[in-house]
Amino acid sequence: MAILAPLNLVNDLLLRLFSEPTVNFVIWPLIQVGLVIVITTGWVAYATYLERKISAFMQARLGPMRVGPWGLLQPIADGLKLLTKEDFIPENADRWIFFVAPYIAVVAAFVVMAVVPFGPDWAVITDVNIGVLFVLAVSSVGVLALILAGWSSNSKYALLGALRSSAQMVSYEVSMGLAIIGALIFARTLSLSGVVTAQASNSIWFFFYQPIGFFIFLISGIAENNRAPFDLPEAESELVAGFHTEYSGFRWSLFFMAEYAAMVVVTAVATTLYLGGWYFPLVYRLTEAHGWHNLYVAISVIVFLAKAGLLLYLYFWLRWTLPRFRYDQLMDLGWKWLLPAALINIVVTALGAGVIQGLDNQAGMRTIKSLASGLGLTASGKVIAIVFGFGNLFLTAGILSLINWRARDFNLKKQRRKIRLVDVPKGKPAVVPVTSE
């Protein structure tokens, strides 16, 4: 490949300067890290631009138009503005925690990028064999930053925002973690690259096996990122700006970056787990089979970014369509709908896998091709898995409505009405109003 030939040249040059282990395990990873940081920062910056543009289009406006053609330099202007603004610290704030909190947020959001497979071979920084766990663990640290920021600000709005965000994140983290398990049953590995290769070698996206898991992951991902319609921690109408009320200038922009970076992370992980990651049909046959390895990797990276970009668009789309949830609705959705759905999903997926295994070698039927990478299924096995996946939609619907059909009975208003109606003729107030004697 002519375009990417310089890569090999650079490799040769580096080999001349350093020993081979140094090049392979120090220099190239550092280059990868630098590239990923640059790409992620650019992606984050332009995600803000896209958000403003898309919101404008959805409201029949034009959005940023002044800085550069079509306002394309707006993120740079924003960044410069935020850098030159005063870094204000409230008098009674806990200074050290106030200083540190934004950095925790940014680090927690960016570190996850280390295990996200942007593509095959050299497009992934490190392939940790517990990648999914790493992602869940590190992205949860982001909550700590919000709590510290809210607490150290010494402001009632910031504290309320922090409390809300911690409660919200805790309740959605559970269903998020449980939703992933369904996909992992098919992938048989926790490595994110392994999940992608499992999908690639089966030539199917896990979305078809796991429609419910995908939706649960997406919804709880949006809630995890404190994005509308789940943006209660920074509800403008109630809490001024939530946990970052007292932040200004560069520290505020760090929180902002962390929010968008976390969004990029969730979309990337959702793509990896459910939408096949960098795998796209025919790309392999068109490039790698002809020996164009670097082109194959490059196209895979583009495919991955396109898929993640579509999910990111869904984020913006939902934000500018839906109004904010009430707090009890948020908790209701998390605990009464998503959590049971995630549990049902695990059970049904496990049952499906069991059925597939049981049917294998029965009456000349073959359902499992190999277990080399993931659960390699034959065509009939795939059909069974897909039937289980989409049938699960209806089963989950039934069970959820069974669980929740009397949920209104816990409604305080209804309880009060019942109490009131004891031994009282219909239509008359329970407490006789005090009349003048």
Binding site: I54, A56, F57, M58, Q59, A60, R61, L62, M65, W317, L318, W320, T321, L322, A397, S401, R417, K426, G427, P429
Partner: protein, 177 residues
Amino acid sequence: MPLVPVPKSTFAQKLKRFFMVDLLQGMAVTLGFNIGALTDKDAVAGKGIYTEQYPKVRPDVAPRFHGAPRLNMDPETHETLCIACNLCALACPEDCIDVIPMDVEVVVAGKPRRKKVLDEFIFDTSRCMFCALCQEACPTYCLELTQDFELATYSRAGFVWNREMLEQGRETVKYES
């Protein structure tokens, strides 16, 4: 607290709620606007972009809009069309026009005569309500309310326009597009 009977939802309503039809409808609306904004950029009807790039692109005001006043001049001789008849000042319901005439000596048919011509024209735009009654009253089509709407100034005195401003128009910052 009166008891309000809540109607039981029908099966069709439950189905609609379960498949989140309303949510999807809402998302279709926003997506429609997004696509509309990308495809037809200056559509007025339906799903285009409504906002204008004001200082760069001048907005189209309504045809009957009345804005900044102007004293028209004869396009050939560049002398004012105003004959100092004071009809505009009389027509003005807000008393915001002052026509200050002066007498000049002219020779008409060999005899010296005095003629009333315009010396100064004061138009107080801060009191004007842009009813254009002065424009209606003007017999020579001299005074006219144009479609220019940029009347803001930094002081109260700036709202009082003299003859020069009325004839030349006021200087405003022009933005390059």
